[in-house]
Amino acid sequence: MKTTNELPQAAKARRRSPAGEALRHLLRHSSGRAGIIILTLLVLIAIFAPFIAPYNPTQILKDQKRRDPPCVHLLGCPKEEQQHLFGMDSNSRDLFSRVIFGSRLSLQVGVATMAFAILIGTLIGAISAYAGGWLDNFLMRTMDVLMAFPSLLLAIAIVSILGTGLINALLAIGIVSIPRFARLVRSTVLTVKDLEFVQASRAMGASGMHILFKRILPNAITPLIVQGTLGIATAILDAAALSFLGLGAEPPRPEWGLMLGEEKNSIFSAPHLVIFPGIAIMLTVLGFNLLGDGLRDTLDPRLTRAGK
């Protein structure tokens, strides 16, 4: 009885799930660990935003002065004044609450645009590699043309067609990110599709779809995860940039880039209005960049480890 019970358990202990194994490696990697810590905190802040933020992010506090600098009781701000950790913005709203709620938007923005870009990119890349011939040529030349524009500027041009607004800005950023993923998936499919294990699957009578989704595409998952994570960082920066220019999110939405754009002229009179949203963007982007670097080093042994 005992022996039969022990065997599967021992096997279980030695063979962790691939995801668990990756996480263990990642936590040993210094930038990966830092990235995970930053992002975990951010996700928690985003989830519990209503409990952390003392005010509604769009609520105008009429009794408070505009552009008031931060007032923290612990740091010597008189007790009779109301506490505002990051101060007040130009519309008498609590900046701290706005920055806290902004985390929700930025995380959603990053993940949604990348999910869109990866989905479409994978589709284009897979079709291109699988079909070959003129279709491959056509799709890849289209990708070349998209990459002939600096990505943020192409996003700006697309927004000019679609019209300004957060959703259109996201769509634009998603579109300009597609070529990277399409190329990545195409090259993976091309390398793998004539290997023996795929031929074996084909010989056993598997359908084309089965081979593509079950045999070939899993090989692209690792590089997609790495590129996707780094892509989220870029997407958040680009979305903030579009909102900063007035082409993305519309007021009074608590979007960090928009907050910077609205308050850029307050930099000399009320620098806190510029400093805090900027730090928020920087930390979020840093988190995804560090996590992406960590994932690249731990998940993909083929890539050089010199950059570690």
Partner: protein, 358 residues
């Protein structure tokens, strides 16, 4: 080598055609009536009829594209709706500033980036290395426009009264402007390509100063561009620093470096003569790729520093729905980007002969 260049040029044709097609489609893809979109409240049926006729929007799409292509070859990018002036004139006025900003930022990012990367690699796993890489990681995560605002605050307000104070906005100090070269040479309002070039050179400060010798203007313009260039160059600088570090570390481990050391070369010579030469190859590629980020950064930074360049004009044209300007400016930026990458590819092949044979 000539064969390689010829092949790269040939490959450029479809990409360029695609770029032209995309910029052409920008205007045609706008949902709704183009006249109402562009003229807004001023759109009356009579005005619209004139408008559609003037911009040739009544013809079928192939005729329009053919005409657009033909106009491009004669250097005609259409007229700005807002300013009722040729788009090419606007380009001659606005592009020089953005070009100067991008070049200065490229200079900053390459010199500082390579320097940081080399120091980091030579002092590997020391505190210097750690600090440099933390700087690089933060630098790559900062929004360009935010860094610009912080720099403006620090150098214009905090350092006020010190010799290090730098202007936070504008291209020149009040009262200064570049001497118009057409007047300088006594030309009577030149037109066509000549007019474009004269206007372009007038507005390019470092060309203007060579011709007119107005050094006061040059130093003033340079002081105004330092902060924007640092803001624009920081992300590429960080990427170049990381790339230099990993590329140098990789090369240093190779056999030929050990051989160089074994024959008694000084460490300095080993690094500068042998290792750097090979380590530079990937760095050159990165500089090409980062040109896109520099151009995008320039657009954002101009907004922060109130610089009347390409970026500010592009954004205001989008908000004002001045599509001929959007179209022309996007096209020019894409062409510059494609050409820079062509130059990078060629220099890459020059540095690494294996590429040519591919």
């Amino acid at each position: 080598m000539p064969q390689f260049i010829a092949r790269r040029l040939f490959l450029l044709i479809p990409v360029m055609l695609g770029v032209v097609l995309v910029t052409f489609l920008i205007v045609r893809l706008i949902p709704g009536d183009p006249c109402v979109t562009m003229l807004g409240e001023r759109a009356t049926p009579a005005k619209c009829a004139v408008f559609l006729e003037r911009y040739g929007l009544n013809d079928d799409i192939f005729t329009q594209f053919w005409r657009y292509l033909g106009n491009l070859f004669t250097g005609d990018l259409g007229d700005s709706i807002r300013f009722t002036r040729p788009v090419t004139t606007l380009i001659a006025e606005r592009l020089p500033l953005t070009m100067e900003l991008t070049l200065l930022a490229m200079f900053f990012s390459t010199t500082v980036g390579v320097l940081l990367g080399v120091v980091s690699a030579l002092k590997r796993n020391t505190i210097i290395d750690t600090i440099t890489m933390i700087i690089a990681n933060i630098g790559v995560s900062m929004p360009v426009f935010w860094l610009g605002l912080l720099l403006a605050y620090f150098f214009a307000l905090t350092l006020k009264g010190t010799p290090f104070v730098l202007p936070p906005s504008g291209r020149f100090s009040a009262g200064l402007s570049p001497i118009n070269l057409a007047e300088f040479w006594g030309l009577e309002a030149p037109t066509g390509l000549k007019g474009f070039l004269v206007e372009f050179m007038s507005n390019t400060v470092f060309i203007n100063v060579i011709i007119t010798g107005d050094w006061k203007l040059f130093w003033d313009a340079l002081r105004h561009l330092i902060l924007p260039a640092v803001a624009v160059g920081t992300i590429p600088m960080s990427i170049i620093a990381r790339m230099t570090r990993s590329s140098l570390l990789e090369v240093v481990g190779l056999d030929y470096i050990r051989a160089a050391r074994a024959k008694g070369m000084t460490e300095r010579r080993v690094i500068s003569k042998h290792a750097m030469r090979n380590a530079l190859i990937p760095i050159v590629t990165i500089i090409g790729i980062e040109t896109g980020s520099l151009l995008s950064g320039a657009v954002l930074t101009e907004t922060v520093f109130n610089l009347p360049g390409f970026g500010t004009s592009l954004v205001s044209a989008i908000l004002a729905r001045d599509y001929p300007v959007v179209q022309g400016f996007t096209l020019i930026i894409a062409i510059i980007f494609v050409l820079v990458n062509l130059i990078v590819d060629i220099s890459y092949a020059y540095l690494d002969p294996r590429i040519r044979l591919e």
